[in-house]
Symmetry: C2
Subunit: 345 residues, 2 copies
């Protein structure tokens, strides 16, 4: 049995506590300052406000003010802040931890540096605390929080530098419904996880396109599949450029699949596909946290930078270049279908 402190009481942070608690571990859920209402409600009722599900009765809840208590004797920290909370996590949590603890990072996407390069969050945190010896690990693979809480069959991957640490993390979380692969190819897993947002958005644009074009509502699976395949092609190439293994396409493809059907990204993609501009679409969806849109924005910028630096060619990334124009430049163009062709020679 271990004591696990999860920082961030959003949906995924709360959900990953479920398999850990089912395994008999002590799960301490700490809200960020944005999660006060979630923590208060869960403490009173056992229910998670946004997941709208009961959490395990053994969960212990802490408002952020009680972080120190929640960290006492903790053997593992889970960072469950969103992409917007990464700097905050470094300053307000990591700075306070003196012990050398394993840290499992749930934050999706990658960190976009000033110079337009993407780095993994473990890399980002390590640079912030060069003298510390935290063991940073990350989670990838297709997992929606609701289904995890419901004990639906789920396959994920934990990646980090030390197989022994990974085996220990796996032991905490592995159950008969939450299946944990492990990998030392952290970059590969994170590139796969980060890129899937933009490409899932593209597939959902095809859904919107057909909704706009077909009064009978027939869905145009050919075009969705064409963009899915092109997404796979461009992610394979990005894995190569970033030095990640090709086998991570397994997680990227599964993750795209879940993201296409998962809700929020889908809504944005459909609006864009129907011809709504990005600003108008974001305004229409403003009550929904569009973290996925921001991740797509960042990856598109990063690929633009790779192309500008000559590390990639625009011809290899027709879909990402198109997405960059739609998302970051507010242009609405026709999907460049013929640019996805590749010819034998």
């Amino acid at each position: 049995m271990s004591i696990i402190t999860i920082i961030g009481a959003g949906m995924m942070g709360s959900a990953i506590g479920v398999p850990a608690a089912d395994n008999g571990n002590e799960v301490r859920l700490v809200g960020t300052p944005l999660d006060s209402e979630i923590i208060r409600h869960a403490k009173q009722t056992g229910e998670h406000l946004t997941l709208k599900r009961q959490l395990p009765g053994t969960f212990r809840y802490f408002p952020f003010e009680d972080l120190d208590i929640a960290l006492e004797q903790s053997e593992l920290i889970v960072s469950a802040v969103s992409s917007f909370g990464v700097e905050w996590f470094a300053q307000n949590v990591l700075k306070k931890i003196s012990n050398v603890l394993p840290i499992l990072i749930l934050t999706k996407g990658m960190y976009l540096e000033e110079n337009g390069s993407l780095i993994t969050y473990p890399e980002y945190y390590t640079r912030q605390f060069p003298d510390q010896e935290f063991s940073f690990n990350a989670v990838g693979g297709p997992c929606t929080s609701y289904e995890l809480v419901d004990h639906d069959q789920t396959e994920v991957c934990f990646a980090g530098s030390d197989p022994l640490v990974l085996a220990g993390l796996r032991e905490i979380f592995e159950t008969d419904y939450y299946h944990v692969s492990t990998s030392t190819d952290l970059t590969g897993l994170e590139v796969a996880a980060a890129m899937k947002n933009a490409y899932a958005l593209a597939v959902c644009m095809a859904v919107g396109l057909s909704e706009a074009a077909n009064a009978d509502g027939h869905p145009n699976y050919n075009s969705q599949a064409a963009l899915f395949g092109q997404g796979v092609r461009e992610i394979m190439r990005l894995l190569e450029i970033y030095g990640g293994g090709a086998e991570n396409i397994v997680y990227a493809a599964g993750d795209m699949y879940v993201t296409i059907f998962g809700g929020r990204t889908r809504k944005l993609g459909i609006l864009l596909g129907k011809g709504t501009g990005i600003h108008e679409a974001m305004e229409e969806l403003k009550d929904v946290t569009l973290e996925s849109a921001v991740i797509a924005e960042r990856t598109a910028k990063a690929v633009r930078t790779l192309i500008a630096q000559g590390k990639a060619s625009a011809e290899e990334f027709p879909l990402m270049v198109f997405l960059d124009q739609v998302i970051n430049k507010g242009q609405q163009r026709v999907i460049p279908w013929s640019l996805f062709e590749v010819q034998a020679n």
Copy 2:
């Protein structure tokens, strides 16, 4: 302008004539003996009986008795027979063709030899006619026939040994909605296309599982995505074993995506996922041509053979081994979720 003779007036054979006709080519659609009613009806009304759509007015229709007339001055033969018609096509069509013509094969899947090996249809036909010099080419990539007839955006790949022949074929079919990549990696494309049936069936089993388990109808995307990812993993390995390029996973993933949502395979997978045995399920769906089930059956047998011969290990193919048990041995077991895990070492 070319004269194109399509043998087989099923849905895909008829559909691929649409972009060719739109490009101004003369399209001659020849029914097999099973297609008499389709040909008669189309000749009278211009409508395709099973596609339930009007075909281009320039199509010329031929019953099989008039094959010779349909072949006169023809510059390209398209073989649009199903997996069940391959031997028939060799004996009744190829044997009658004396000229050296390019042949484009639409038949999905691969040929299962007596010894349990899979070979591509071009390879099969070449072995049947070792003295002929036909140029056999094949089509892969995600394409449902209905959507092609509707001019929905579609991306496919033509593969064969000669880039010049492929370029010529592409010129005949390429339109602003039917996008043709070309590749000399015929084996890779065909392995990708053949394997997707079995793995799409697996994903649809997860749909059936969740329909059976969740009275509220919520869909368990995590488990669908897990099986999708595992399918990608096993197809990547099969590409390696058969000597096909890893980049063909682009077509396999897109093709799986279309097949999961495309109808017939989905129905069978859902029944299996709900716990119906394969024989009962096939009986229930007997009015539907389950070519995809047969393709899945054959690929599962072929992988079983690879394992028996020591060319692959069962541990690398937990999902195909499971499918083999369900489809070919009539066993119904629980999906072996934990076997899909891969550990760092």
